[in-house]
Subunit: 228 residues, 2 copies
DNA sequence: ACCTGAACACCGTTCAAGT
DNA sequence: ACCTGAACACCGTTCAAGT
């Protein structure tokens, strides 16, 4: 804002890239938006609030983003970019473990991210970085591309779901025994769930590792006789 | 609305249950809300729109629901209630397959449901019906309760994630090769993903079955020597 | 080229008032 | 007991106007 302020002298812009000040401001907005997302969650990222945050009128944002969706996509992009999902492991299991631990870590750093990615049209192309790594590793494990893609979707649903539950929850609402006792549910029996002793502190990391191992050993079993 | 209209004669309500007209109206609202959810999606379920739908002022809803969240919870409850997740199979694999196929089917009937359940505090106690069935079956498969719970969360994340993607998507946004070609992503290579031939029609059911089988064979492998 | 201000059509919810 | 109407503090976005 301080230094290179020019009177706009007709300024025929180069067709491809390099719009000096424009990019700078867009980046500033994206950073502020990501901050808002991290501090106050997905619903707090609002055109009006972001504008207030950087001391500008809401409508000023529309010079840099065509819509709220465009803004959100840029924020997601900025959060993901720079993350390396490829651990460079030769063992395909290790490679996949690394990849999804990294994805989980990213979601824990930016707790609003999973929900953000679910908004229609917000997921940027960078979400395919883990796909690339996974498909490579699964190919090495002997899976056909189609099955690799299916496995990738399984892993990604799992990872985002768990991370979302870990950061937004654990809702008291989702503690089963508690809920079932308070609300009466006629016509259903819940003996197993009711007498379930939920550990006081649920170990999310251990649960995530368990799920990952389960899927990986399922993949390994695909080549074997008993698998069905 | 037609028949038993009484002048409210002081009506000391019985302490426990049976508020005749009140329950009727609440149910009517819930049904209309579910209709709105099914026809126009999660975001369309709005106090004001629902009120308009049943020909009443928005504030009238607050006589039957304490908040929007309360309304949404009742809608989710109404969608889930009556669904039988227990297929009565003796084989634990069949039992779990049936359970999650049922859950998936429910999400396809009510496309807004997965997103609805993710809203904080909306998931009703009935969401634990599949948990009951799953924990029982996994116990039969020899899993400890803690691992059973972890597996349940894996399966539920997977099922809701896939169903959500199937009904809200398939976004053109999530077709990888397309996106990567249009947006340039500097500093990343995507050869595997780029040359991926995505089948023109993605078979969601087959992908779901595949994931289910993968997880189940992972569970089966837990008792075996090679599992790690 | 970038920003403002007023306006429009929406939200959830509170509060006082009607019957 | 149930409903209305006006109001408040929010949304995303359009449009005309300023510099």
């Amino acid at each position: 804002m301080a230094s290179t302020r020019r009177t706009s002298k007709k300024a025929r812009r180069p067709p491809a890239a390099g719009n000096w000040r424009r990019d700078l401001t867009r980046e500033k907005l994206v950073r502020a938006g990501l901050g808002l997302l991290d501090r106050e969650g997905c619903d707090a990222v609002t055109m009006r609030r972001l504008a207030g945050q950087v001391g500008v009128t809401p409508m000023a944002l529309y010079n840099h983003f065509s819509s709220k969706r465009d803004l959100l996509r840029a924020i997601a992009e900025h959060a993901i970019r720079g993350t390396e999902f490829d651990g460079g492991h030769t063992d395909w299991r290790e490679q996949i473990r690394h990849c999804f631990h990294t994805l989980r870590g990213l979601c824990l750093e930016h707790p609003g991210l999973p929900r953000l990615l679910e908004i229609e049209g917000v997921a940027p192309a960078s979400v395919f970085a883990p796909m690339e790594v996974t498909l490579g590793a699964l190919g090495q494990a002997g899976l056909e591309p189609l099955d690799g893609l299916r496995t990738y979707f399984l892993l990604v649903s799992f990872t985002l779901g768990q991370a979302s539950y870990e950061t937004s929850g654990p809702f008291p609402d989702l503690d089963p025994s508690e809920r079932i006792r308070s609300e009466g549910l006629p016509g259903r029996s819940y003996h197993t769930t009711e007498r379930l002793e939920r550990p006081q502190t649920w170990d999310f990391k251990a649960a995530f590792d368990f799920g990952l191992t389960l899927v990986l050993s399922g993949v390994a079993a695909l080549g074997k006789p008993d698998a069905r």
